[in-house]
């Protein structure tokens, strides 16, 4: 198995052990990412329990059509990523590059829609510290909601940006024939990261945008 396998690092017995080690590494990293966002979710839960009305009022001011569209975009990018890993597993280079390109495009679309959303928020005077105006009751608590809104969505957008950078790198490597059916660990590992960023958004979306719309 190991004979002439250029992709096998010397510390591993075989490709299987190497792959398991890489997967273990990325899963430990993903667990720390879950905990990192977990702290933000905990901050959100505590504040929301204390100021439920203000959080409902703040949530109604967020832009659901744009955020809903963005959720669909990110979920779709998860599909193209999964199909990319599938192509890599079968050594289909052209299909792999195509799926990675599509995933990068969808990631960029997500960030573009996010930017439009932030602009709308700014025009509606909803950006704390910079320009926040709210005429209703509990204005300070509504502002607190928007601090969390910008921090959580901002950190998530940063993760999407990093993911786009990794995917673009992998796409260039793939186009230079760096991967084969026997070795595609970087594609696999980047895919796992991209899916996790999607999973985190699936929680961010309802807690910020869907508190009380009726």
């Amino acid at each position: 198995m190991a004979n002439g396998d250029a992709a096998l690092a010397p510390q591993f017995d075989d490709a299987e052990q190497q792959r398991t080690a890489s997967n273990l590494g990325i899963w430990i990293f993903l667990a720390t990412e879950i905990l990192f966002f977990g702290v933000l979710f905990a901050a959100y839960a505590i504040t929301r329990v204390r100021f439920p009305e203000a959080f409902a009022a703040g949530s109604r001011l967020t832009n659901l059509p744009l955020a809903g569209t963005n959720t669909a975009v990110l979920v779709t990018s998860s599909l193209t990523m999964a199909l990319g890993v599938h192509a890599a597993r079968h050594g289909a280079r052209r299909a792999l590059v195509g799926w990675l390109g599509l995933t990068v495009a969808l990631g960029c679309a997500f960030l573009a829609i996010k930017a439009v959303e932030y602009r709308v928020d700014y025009l509606e005077h909803l950006v704390p510290s910079l320009d926040f105006r709210y005429a209703g009751p509990q204005a300070d608590q509504v502002e607190l909601f928007f601090y969390l809104y910008f921090f959580i969505t901002g950190v998530h957008a940063l993760h999407v940006l990093i993911g786009i950078g990794c995917l673009a790198t992998i796409a260039v490597m793939a186009s230079r024939n760096a991967f084969s059916a026997a070795y595609f660990t970087p594609v696999d590992v980047t895919g796992l990261y991209w899916h996790l960023v999607d999973v985190i958004w699936l929680f961010v979306f309802p807690i910020l945008y869907l508190i009380s719309r009726s």
Binding site: T20, A31, G38, I46, L79, D188, L202, F205, P206, S212
Partner: protein, 92 residues
């Protein structure tokens, strides 16, 4: 073999359609006045969506047990963090 069990592309497409359908349900439910039930319903849908992505797209279903344990530890950590923090806030 670890993470080598092949998933057919059709599975990913079915997962994608399920995720979009659940998105429609969770957005739609936000416009219904369900009282206290709105948030648990939204979160239950999120958990279902996350499980679909992690089990099928991230191949956790066929992964090495070690990966499964680590993924569970991450979510278990959050659960402890949020639950114990809320114990404090809610019992002041």
């Amino acid at each position: 073999m670890t993470n080598r069990a092949d998933t057919r592309p059709m599975v990913y497409i079915v997962v994608w359609l399920a995720l979009l359908a659940l998105l429609a349900v969770t957005v739609g439910s936000a416009y219904l006045s369900l009282g206290w039930a709105n948030t648990p319903l939204n979160l239950a849908i999120s958990v279902t969506q996350a499980a679909l992505v992690m089990l099928f797209s991230m191949h956790l279903r066929s992964a090495h047990p070690l990966m499964k344990i680590i993924a569970v530890i991450g979510f278990f950590g959050i659960a402890i963090l949020i639950t114990l923090s809320l114990f404090d806030v809610l019992t002041r």
